[in-house]
Symmetry: C2
Subunit: 296 residues, 2 copies
C-alpha cells in the first residue's frame, strides 16, 4: 500500500513549510534532529529535563530546545520519540500542546496499542515505526544517518488522513529510510517473531548455560569455552532489560503466540535428537541454512 | 590441572625433534600446517584425495603431502584433523600407519566418544579440542593464526601418558592457543551448553519465524523487518547442517540434557509473560544482561 497526496493542501515538499517538532531527543529523536537539520529543515524539540535540554543544545540536536511544551507551537509535523510506556500514557500538558492541525506520528516498536490510544486523541495521528537502533540510548545517542536504508513502517488504519500519511512518508524519505505500510496487527506479529520473542529465546540461553554449567559442576568451563557463536546467539538476550520487558508487555499476545510457535519447533528438533533421526535432523538444518538468507 | 614433563625422555622442545604429521588438511589441519611451518617445524600430511594433495601442495600447507599413509613414518606427533564421524570410524590403513612410538592427538569437538574409541587403539593417544573456527571448510580454509588466543582443551584420562600430554601442550603453545585441561565428560557437557544446543535453539528460531510469519499471513513482512538482532540470533542455526547434526549425534546425551535446561528456562520466561509479571521479567533480563559478559 502506498498513499497518494491528500486533499488538505499538503503536497510534496510540505515538510519544509513549517518546523518539525520532536518530543524526546534520545537515540531516535536526536538522530531525526540531526538528519532533518542537515537536510535544511527547521527543528524544534521538547524534552523532559532541563539538563537534557542543555546537553541537547550543546549537541545541536535541534535549533530550538525547551522543556516548555509551547516550543511545539507552529510545527507542521510532530514526532513523538518517546519510550513506549510514556507514549501509551501521555501527560495532559503534552496533549494540550499538540496543535490540532499538525500531523502527529510516533516511533514506537509496537503499533496496535499505540494506534488504539492515539487515533481517538488526535485527528491527524499516523502510527509509525522507524526500525533502526544501536545499543545506545539517551541524549548522547543520536547520530547522523541512523535511518538510511532501514525500514520505516507506517500502520495506517481506515480513518488515517492520507495527507498526514504522505507527510510522514516525506519525513522517512528525508532520512533515507525504506518506506513500508502494513496493518498494525501484522506489524506487531512480525516484530514479535523477529525481534521481541527472540530476546526471550536468547535470554533463556544465557540462563540455561549458567544453570546447566552449575548442574554439571562446570561453571568456569562453560564461561571459558563460550565462543563467537554463543556471543552472537546471546547478544539480544543480554540487551536492555527495560526494553525487553516493555516489548513483551506491550506486545504480549503476539509474543506469547510467537513463543508457542518457537516451542513447537524446538520440541520437534529435540524429538529428532531423542529418536536419533540424524538424516531428518540434517535435513531440517539444511532447510534453516537455506532459509536464513531470506531474512538478511 | 596442568601436566608435568613425563619420564619418556620428552622435554621442552621435543616437538622440534621429529616431524609433525597431520591427517587431514581442512580448516584445522591446514591452519596447523601453516602455523607449524611458520614456527620452523617440519610438517608432513596425509590426505584422502589426490586433488586435495595437489591443491594443498600449491598452498604449501605442509612440506610433504601424500595420499599414502607411509608419509606419516618418522613423525613424533600426529594430529588427526578429521571430521568427527571419520575419527570415530578410522580406516584400518590409517591405524596401521600410525607409529607406535608417536604421540597421537585429535581435534574433535566431542571428547568422551573419541577417548573411548582411541584410548584402546594407541598407547600414546591424547584427546584434545582446539576451539577455533571460521565458517569455511576444506583445503582452501586453513589460515595463519587461527588458534591464537583461543582455548585448546585437552581431556586426559587416568591412563594418558603425561609426556604425550606435554607434547600436545607444546603444539598448543606453538600456535599460541590457551591451554586448558578438563574431564572429557565435563568438556562435552560444557560444549553442549555453549555450542551444540545453541545451534538447535537458533535453528528453531528460523523455523518459527518462517512458520509464524506464514500463519500470520506476513511471510514477506517478517523477512523485510528482520534486522541485526535476528541475524545474530539465527547465525549458528543457519550454519553448516552436517556439522550441526554430527555434533548432536556424537554428543547426544549432553545435548538432550542441555535442551532440557533450556526448555525449563524458556518456559519460566513464558510464564512471566503469561502472568504479566513485568517486574519479575525485567529482573530476569537484568540478570541476563549482567551474566553475558562472563561468557565473552
Amino acid at each position: 500500500m502506498t498513499s497518494s497526496q491528500g486533499e488538505s493542501g499538503l503536497g510534496p515538499g510540505a515538510l519544509r513549510e513549517r518546523p518539525v517538532g520532536l518530543v524526546g531527543l534520545g537515540l531516535i529523536g536526536g538522530s531525526l534532529g540531526l538528519d532533518l537539520q542537515a537536510a535544511g529543515h527547521e527543528v524544534r524539540a521538547l524534552v523532559h529535563r532541563a539538563s537534557t535540554a542543555e546537553r541537547a543544545r550543546e549537541r545541536q540536536l535541534a535549533q530550538r530546545i525547551d522543556t516548555d511544551p509551547a516550543v511545539l507551537q507552529g510545527c507542521g509535523l510532530i514526532v513523538l520519540a518517546l519510550p513506549l510506556d510514556r507514549l501509551l500514557d501521555p501527560p495532559a500538558e503534552l496533549l494540550a500542546a499538540l496543535p490540532p492541525d499538525a500531523v502527529i506520528t510516533d516511533v514506537g516498536s509496537v503499533k496496535q496499542p499505540v494506534l488504539e490510544r492515539w487515533q481517538p486523541l488526535h485527528p491527524r495521528f499516523v502510527a509509525s515505526h522507524p526500525m533502526a537502533g544501536t545499543a545506545e540510548a539517551g541524549v548522547e545517542a543520536g547520530l547522523i544517518g541512523l535511518f538510511a536504508g532501514r525500514p520505516w513502517v507506517a500502520t495506517p488504519c481506515s480513518t488515517t488522513d492520507p495527507a498526514a500519511l504522505a507527510l510522514v512518508q516525506e519525513l522517512a524519505a528525508v532520512v533515507q529510510a525504506q518506506w513500508l505500510c502494513c496493518e498494525a496487527s501484522a506489524h506487531d506479529r512480525a516484530v514479535a517473531l523477529i525481534s521481541h520473542m527472540p530476546v526471550l529465546v536468547s535470554a533463556a540461553l544465557l540462563e540455561a548455560a549458567e544453570q546447566g554449567g552449575r548442574a554439571a559442576g562446570a561453571e568456569a568451563l562453560v564461561r571459558q569455552l563460550a565462543s563467537s557463536g554463543f556471543a552472537d546467539t546471546s547478544r539480544i538476550g543480554g540487551g536492555n532489560p527495560e526494553l525487553g520487558a516493555l516489548m513483551a508487555r506491550c506486545n504480549r499476545e503476539a509474543v506469547l503466540q510467537a513463543i508457542a510457535h518457537y516451542r513447537e519447533h524446538l520440541a520437534e528438533l529435540e524429538t529428532l535428537v531423542e529418536q536419533e533421526a540424524w538424516p531428518a535432523l540434517q535435513q531440517r538444518l539444511q532447510h534453516c541454512q537455506a532459509l536464513r538468507p531470506e531474512f538478511l
